[in-house]
C-alpha cells in the first residue's frame, strides 16, 4: 500500500468492506516485522505512542537507527539515577511532633515516616509534581509512559492510602517491574503497601475476611470479567482467605505477615480452576506459600490472563476497538508470545512495536491523547524550557502547574477515579473519547493558549512556548510551505488538505499576501539580525498564531 497516497486521503477502492467494524475500516496487517519507510512520520508515530510527545532531537536520534534498533532502545528502563521527591511545602498545618515537621524544605521526605494527614497530603502533592518532572525529563525510553500504563492497570488512589511513602514505593515498584515479569509483578503488587491499604488487604483476617483485593486481583488485574466460564463468587471468597494475615505496621510502614490472623484451613476453588485446593498452612511462611499457590493457579488459566493483559496493552498503545482481524492477527499471537515467554512483558511490547500492524497507516492518529500526554507531550515537543534543575522551587512550581492542568482535564496522577483506573481505558463503548467532553476540551486548548500567550511565571522564571526557537529547529523555516509541512509532521499524525495548508499559510504566515517571499524575507531578516527586536516580533507574532491555531484544531488531540 502506498503510504503517502493513503496519507493524502486517497481512498483505496480495493479494500473489502466486510472488514468494517462499527463503521471503522479494519486493519488486516499482523505481527510481521515492519520494513517500510523510516522517516520522520514513522519515528514520530513510534515516539508519540511510547514516550510523551516526539521532540525534534529525539526524532532525529531514532531516525538514524533501524526500526528494530529504535524499538530495542526504547524498551529499556532508564538506568539514570533519579532525583528524590522533595519537600516543596512549608510546615503550616503540620503538627510539630509529626515526622515530617523536622524535614527541611527542599530535602527529601522519603526517609521519614509521617503519620499526619496534612503532611501526607502535602507529600502526595509534591510526589505528583515530582512524577511530572520525571516525565518531562524522561530519557529516550518507554519508562515513564509504561509506568503510567501500569499505574492505570494496578490502580490505587492516594486519597485513600494518604501516605507519601506508600505512593513513592508504589511508583518504584511499577518502575521495577514495568518491563519485567508480569507474574512476579502481580505478586509484588499484592504485598505493596499502597495496594494493601487501598484494597483493605491489611484488614483481611481469618475472623473477618475482606474480599476486596481478592476480587480485583482476578477481575481487574489478571483474568478479567469477560471470560465464560469465569471465576465464581466462592472463588473470590476462597482467594480472600488465602490472602488473610498480611498487615501494615503504620508506625514503621513495614508489611508483616501475622499467622494469627491467617485462615489456616484449606481453600477450595471452582471447576473454572479445575477444583484446585490450596492447602492451608500454619507456619510463618504460610502467607508467602499460599500466595504463590494462588498465583500459580490463576496464571495456569494462561489463555485468559495473557489475552486479557495483551488486550489492555493494545488498547493503551494502539486503539480501543479490537476487531476480529486484530484479534486473530495481533491479540492471539501476542498472547501466545506472552505465555511462551513465561510472562515476560518486554518480548510482547517488542513484537507489537516492531510490527506491520503498529506501523499500519490505518493505525496512525487513532489514539486520543490522555491529559498527561497532552500536557507533558506539548511541552516536550515544543522544547518548552524549564527552570534549571538546581532550582527546586521554580521546578516544582512548573511541574505543579502542569499536574493541575492535567487534573482539571480529568487525569489526576496517583488518584485515578477508582480501582478500575481511568474510564478511558475500560468504559465501553466510548473508551478514549471519555477524555474529551465540553468541559475538558476547552481546558486542553486553554492550556495550549496559556503556554503560548501568557506563559507561567514561577518565582522569577517564565515558562513559555518559544515558537521562533521551535521553527528554527526545523530544516527550512524560511520556506513557508516547508515550515508548515515540517511542523505538521511533528505535531499531527493525520493529514490535512493542501487547501487548508494554503489557507493557513496565506492568512497567518503571509498576512494575506500572495507571495511566499514575504515570509521568507521576514524570516531572513530576523535570522540575519537576531538582535533586531522588530524583525523578531514580526516572525514571533506570526509563528505564535500559527502554532496556536494548529494546536487548537481537533487533529492535535490525536496521536
Amino acid at each position: 500500500m502506498d503510504r503517502r497516497a493513503f496519507l493524502s486521503l486517497t481512498r483505496k477502492t480495493d479494500v473489502p468492506e466486510l472488514h468494517l467494524a462499527e463503521g471503522v475500516r479494519g486493519i488486516l496487517s499482523g505481527l510481521t516485522p515492519y520494513s517500510g519507510p523510516w522517516t520522520n512520520a514513522e519515528v514520530a508515530h513510534l515516539l508519540k505512542r511510547t514516550m510523551f510527545g516526539a521532540a525534534k532531537a529525539d526524532i532525529d536520534y531514532f531516525r538514524s537507527m533501524s526500526t528494530s534498533q529504535a524499538v530495542d532502545a526504547l524498551l529499556n528502563i532508564s538506568a539514570a539515577a533519579q532525583p528524590l521527591p522533595l519537600k516543596d511545602y512549608d510546615n503550616d498545618d503540620i503538627p510539630a511532633d509529626d515526622g515530617d515537621f523536622p524535614v527541611p524544605m527542599w530535602s527529601t521526605w522519603i526517609n521519614t515516616v509521617s503519620k499526619d494527614g496534612n503532611a501526607n497530603a502535602k507529600r502526595m502533592q509534591s510526589l505528583k509534581s515530582w512524577w511530572i518532572g520525571q516525565m518531562v525529563n524522561q530519557d529516550r525510553t518507554i519508562t515513564e509512559k509504561l509506568i503510567l500504563f501500569w499505574h492505570n492497570h494496578f490502580a490505587t488512589e492516594s486519597n485513600e492510602y494518604n501516605r507519601g511513602r506508600f505512593g513513592y514505593t508504589h511508583y518504584l515498584l511499577l518502575r521495577q517491574f514495568a518491563l519485567g515479569n508480569f507474574k512476579q509483578f502481580t505478586r509484588a503488587i499484592t504485598l505493596d503497601k499502597a495496594m494493601l491499604r487501598y484494597l483493605n488487604g491489611y484488614l483481611n483476617s481469618a475472623g473477618a475476611p475482606d474480599e476486596n483485593y481478592a476480587r480485583e486481583l482476578q477481575e481487574l488485574f489478571t483474568l478479567g470479567k469477560e471470560n465464560n466460564p469465569n471465576y465464581t463468587e466462592p472463588d473470590v471468597f476462597s482467594a480472600a482467605r488465602v490472602l488473610t494475615g498480611w498487615q501494615i505496621n503504620f508506625d514503621t510502614e513495614v508489611v508483616t505477615f501475622n499467622i494469627n490472623r491467617h485462615d489456616k484451613n484449606n481453600k477450595v476453588f471452582s471447576s473454572f480452576f479445575g477444583g484446585t485446593t490450596i492447602a492451608g498452612r500454619a507456619d510463618a511462611s504460610a502467607g508467602d506459600t499460599e500466595l504463590d499457590d494462588l498465583l500459580n493457579m490463576i496464571f495456569a488459566k494462561n489463555i485468559e490472563v495473557s489475552e486479557f493483559i495483551v488486550r489492555k496493552i493494545y488498547r493503551w498503545f494502539c486503539y480501543y476497538t479490537i476487531d476480529t482481524d486484530t484479534e486473530t492477527n495481533v491479540i492471539k499471537p501476542l498472547a501466545q508470545l506472552f505465555r511462551d515467554g513465561n510472562w515476560e512483558i518486554k518480548p510482547v511490547l517488542s513484537a507489537l512495536f516492531k510490527s506491520e500492524h503498529f506501523f499500519d497507516v490505518l493505525n496512525y492518529g487513532a489514539l486520543i491523547k490522555s491529559p498527561i500526554d497532552s500536557v507533558v507531550g506539548m511541552c516536550r515537543e515544543f522544547n518548552v524550557q524549564f527552570p534549571l534543575a538546581s532550582n527546586n522551587e521554580q521546578s516544582y512550581l512548573c511541574w505543579s502547574m502542569m499536574r493541575n492542568f492535567a487534573y482539571v482535564m480529568q487525569q489526576n496522577l496517583f488518584d485515578p477515579p477508582g480501582v478500575s483506573g481511568w474510564p478511558a481505558y475500560y468504559q465501553a463503548p466510548q473508551f478514549h473519547e471519555m477524555w474529551i467532553n465540553s468541559d475538558t476540551l476547552p481546558k486542553r486548548t486553554g492550556f495550549f493558549d496559556f503556554l503560548t500567550y501568557n506563559g507561567f511565571t514561577a518565582g522569577g522564571f517564565t515558562m513559555i512556548l518559544d515558537p521562533v526557537a521551535f521553527a528554527k529547529s526545523l530544516p527550512s523555516p524560511g520556506d513557508p510551505n516547508a515550515l508548515i509541512n515540517d511542523s505538521l509532521t511533528m505535531m499531527y499524525r493525520v493529514p490535512i488538505s493542501d487547501q487548508s495548508k494554503q489557507t493557513i499559510k496565506k492568512q497567518i504566515l503571509l498576512t494575506n499576501q500572495d507571495q511566499d517571499y514575504y515570509w521568507t524575507n521576514a524570516w531572513n531578516s530576523y535570522v540575519g539580525n537576531p538582535a533586531d527586536t522588530t524583525a523578531y516580533e514580526t516572525v514571533y507574532n506570526r509563528l505564535r498564531s500559527l502554532y496556536r491555531y494548529l494546536m487548537n484544531l481537533a487533529e492535535y488531540q490525536l496521536v
Binding site: V24, R25, G446, T503, Q507
Partner: protein, 528 residues
C-alpha cells in the same frame, strides 16, 4: 473520491478559549456569580457597531483619492498610470478632491453625506514592510515600539474585563468581536487573550449554518476526529447564538459576488440578527500593486480598478442592505491598509511600497466631508518620495472610540497608549458628539507658513493656533520626523519658531501643524 478541504475552520475550531486555571468549569458561572456581579457596571451600554475593512497589500492612495487641485503634479509624477482628469469622479461640496472612476458606490455614499475621506493617514517614520507595517496598524504602536496586543483588543479588554471566563453573560451575551477572513488578528489581541472569534471564510460560514460537515474517512482516526469536532461544536459557547442570529434574517439585499461582498453580507446579517457584538473585521487582499496596477494605455482599467470596484460596490451594497434591514443607525465602518504607495509610479505600470494614504470612514452617522488637504506632491518627485502623513492613524482610532463608542479620558489614553488628537468623524449623541463642526477651517486660511522659502540654513515657521495643545513637526520626504519644534499648550494667536536645518541634506521638507482637530502641512525647500 475527490476530497475537498479537509480541515474545517468552522467557528468551533477557530475559536479558542483559555481554560480556567483553578479548575472551575465555565458552565459553573451564572449571572449570579460574584465575579459576574463584580463586573456589572463596567461596560458601556451601546448598540453601536464598528466594521473594520482591511485592504491587504498597501492601497495606492493617490489613485484612489485623486488630488484634483494638484492634478498637474499628480499627472507628472505617474503619467503611465494617472487617471485622466475627465474620468475622475467628482464629489459634492469639494472641487479639490475626486475619486477613482470605478468607485461610483463611494461617490454616491459621499454625496449622500455618509462618508468621510481622511487624507494622508500614517505615522512618523513609516515602515515599508508589509508585516511590520501591518503589525503597527494592528497594534497601534509607534514605529519603533513593539506592542504585542491590538488596539481593538485593548478596547474590548477595557470594556469587558475577565473575558472569556465569565462570558457570555446577560450584559454581553454575544461575541465581543467577530473576524471574518483571517485568523487571530493582532488587532483583536487583548493583553491576556484574543478578544475575537474567527469565521475563517464565508463559504464555510454557510456550511456551518447549514450544519454541513466535512467528511472524514472510515478509519480509526476518522472516527475520533469526527467525535472531537462534534464536542468542539458543543463546547463553542457562541455557536448557537450565531446560528440563531443568522436564522432571524432570511432575506437580505443583493451584494456583488466577491469575497468582500460575501463577508460584509454576513456582517449585516449578524447585526440585524441582534448580536451585540461591537466589532467586525473583514479583509480583502491584492493591493500590493507593484506591476500592472493599471492596463497599459487605459489607466482607468486594470487590477487596481477592479480592487476599488470591489471595495466600493461591496460597501455600497452593505450600506444599502443595512438601511433596508433598518439597522443603519447602528453601524460605522472604516477602511485601512498597512501603507500607501510611492508618489512616483514605476515602469511596470505599478507603484512600490509607500507611506501615508487616505482612508474612508462611512456610516449613516459619519461627519461627512474630506478631512485634511490633498497631499503635497513635488513638481519632480524622486523615486523614493512619499506622501507625508497629516493624520496619525491612531488619531482616527481614538476619534472613533471616543465619538462612536464614548470612550473618554484616561481610558482612551490607556487603550491608545498615549494621547492622540480628536478628529471629528462620527456623531453619537450618547457620547455627547454632535454634527456641528466646532473647528473653523476656512479653505483659504494658511495656518502654517515659513519664511524664507526656499531657505538655505534657517527658516522661520509661523503658525496660528486656536489655543490648547499645539504640535509643530518637520518631516522629510520619507515621512521621518526630523525635528519636533513645538509640543505644548499655547494661548490662541500667532506664534513663530525658528527651524535650523543644519546637518540636514538639501531637499523638500514638510512643516506639520497639529492643533486639536486641525491639521496642516506646509512644504519647504532647502537649497544652496
Amino acid at each position: 473520491m475527490k476530497r475537498r478541504a479537509f480541515v474545517r475552520n468552522t467557528i468551533p475550531a477557530a475559536l479558542t478559549l483559555p481554560g480556567l486555571f483553578n479548575g472551575l468549569s465555565v458552565k459553573a458561572f451564572t449571572d449570579q456569580h460574584p465575579l459576574v456581579q463584580a463586573l456589572l457596571g463596567s461596560t458601556t451600554d451601546t448598540d453601536k457597531v464598528l466594521v473594520l475593512i482591511q485592504l491587504n497589500g498597501g492601497n495606492d492612495g493617490l489613485n484612489t483619492v485623486i488630488p484634483i487641485d494638484l492634478y498637474g503634479n499628480y499627472f507628472n509624477a505617474r503619467q503611465n498610470i494617472a487617471i485622466p482628469l475627465n474620468k475622475v469622479l467628482t464629489l459634492n461640496g469639494t472641487a479639490k478632491t475626486g475619486i477613482h472612476p470605478s468607485m461610483a458606490g463611494f461617490q454616491s455614499l459621499f454625496n449622500e453625506g455618509k462618508m468621510n475621506i481622511v487624507q494622508s493617514v500614517g505615522y512618523p517614520t513609516p515602515s515599508f514592510s508589509h508585516f511590520r507595517a501591518t503589525d503597527i496598524w494592528m497594534s497601534g504602536s509607534d514605529a519603533d515600539q513593539i506592542v504585542t496586543n491590538g488596539w481593538m483588543g485593548r478596547y474590548l479588554n477595557q470594556e469587558f474585563p475577565g473575558y472569556p471566563e465569565v462570558y457570555p453573560n446577560t450584559q454581553m451575551p454575544d461575541p465581543l468581536a467577530i473576524q471574518i477572513g483571517s485568523i487571530s488578528s493582532l488587532a483583536l489581541q487583548g493583553p491576556v487573550t484574543n478578544m475575537g472569534i474567527s469565521i475563517s471564510d464565508p463559504s464555510r460560514f454557510y456550511d456551518f449554518l447549514d450544519g454541513v460537515e466535512d467528511p472524514v474517512p472510515d478509519t480509526r482516526w476518522g472516527k475520533e476526529l469526527k467525535y472531537i469536532r462534534q464536542i468542539g461544536k458543543q463546547t463553542e459557547k457562541y455557536t448557537a447564538l450565531i446560528k440563531a442570529a443568522a436564522a432571524k434574517v432570511p432575506t437580505q439585499g443583493s451584494y456583488p459576488s466577491n469575497d468582500l461582498g460575501n463577508e460584509l453580507k454576513i456582517v449585516a446579517r449578524l447585526i440585524k440578527g441582534g448580536l451585540k457584538t461591537r466589532v467586525y473585521m473583514v479583509s480583502t487582499g491584492g493591493f500590493d500593486t507593484h506591476a500592472s496596477q493599471t492596463n497599459n494605455g487605459d489607466t482607468v482599467t486594470g487590477n487596481h480598478a477592479n480592487l476599488l470596484y470591489k471595495l466600493s460596490s461591496a460597501v455600497k451594497a452593505f450600506m444599502d442592505d443595512l438601511k433596508g434591514l433598518g439597522v443603519d443607525d447602528r453601524v460605522m465602518g472604516m477602511t485601512f491598509s498597512e501603507f500607501g504607495r510611492r508618489i512616483k509610479s514605476n515602469a511596470s505600470f505599478g507603484t512600490d511600497h509607500g507611506a501615508a494614504a487616505p482612508l474612508f470612514v462611512f456610516g449613516k452617522h459619519v461627519r461627512p466631508g474630506v478631512t485634511g488637504n490633498s497631499p503635497a506632491i513635488p513638481a519632480s518627485p524622486g523615486l523614493n518620495d512619499n506622501v507625508v502623513y497629516q493624520y496619525d492613524f491612531r488619531s482616527v482610532y481614538a476619534s472613533l472610540l471616543s465619538q462612536w463608542f464614548c470612550v473618554k479620558g484616561t481610558d482612551l489614553q490607556t487603550i491608545m497608549l498615549k494621547n492622540f488628537q480628536d478628529i471629528p468623524l462620527a456623531v453619537n449623541a450618547a457620547c455627547g458628539t454632535t454634527g456641528l463642526d466646532d473647528v473653523i477651517r476656512p479653505d483659504s486660511e494658511q495656518l502654517i507658513l515659513n519664511y524664507p522659502n526656499p531657505f538655505v540654513e534657517t527658516t522661520t515657521i509661523t503658525f496660528k493656533t486656536k489655543g490648547g495643545h499645539t504640535l509643530v513637526q518637520v518631516m522629510d520626504t520619507l515621512g521621518r520626523v526630523v525635528k519636533t519644534l513645538v509640543d505644548k499648550t499655547f494661548a490662541p494667536g500667532s506664534h513663530s519658531v525658528s527651524f535650523d536645518s543644519h546637518a540636514l541634506p538639501r531637499g523638500v521638507y514638510y512643516a506639520r501643524l497639529q492643533n486639536g482637530g486641525i491639521q496642516q502641512v506646509r512644504p519647504m525647500l532647502k537649497t544652496r
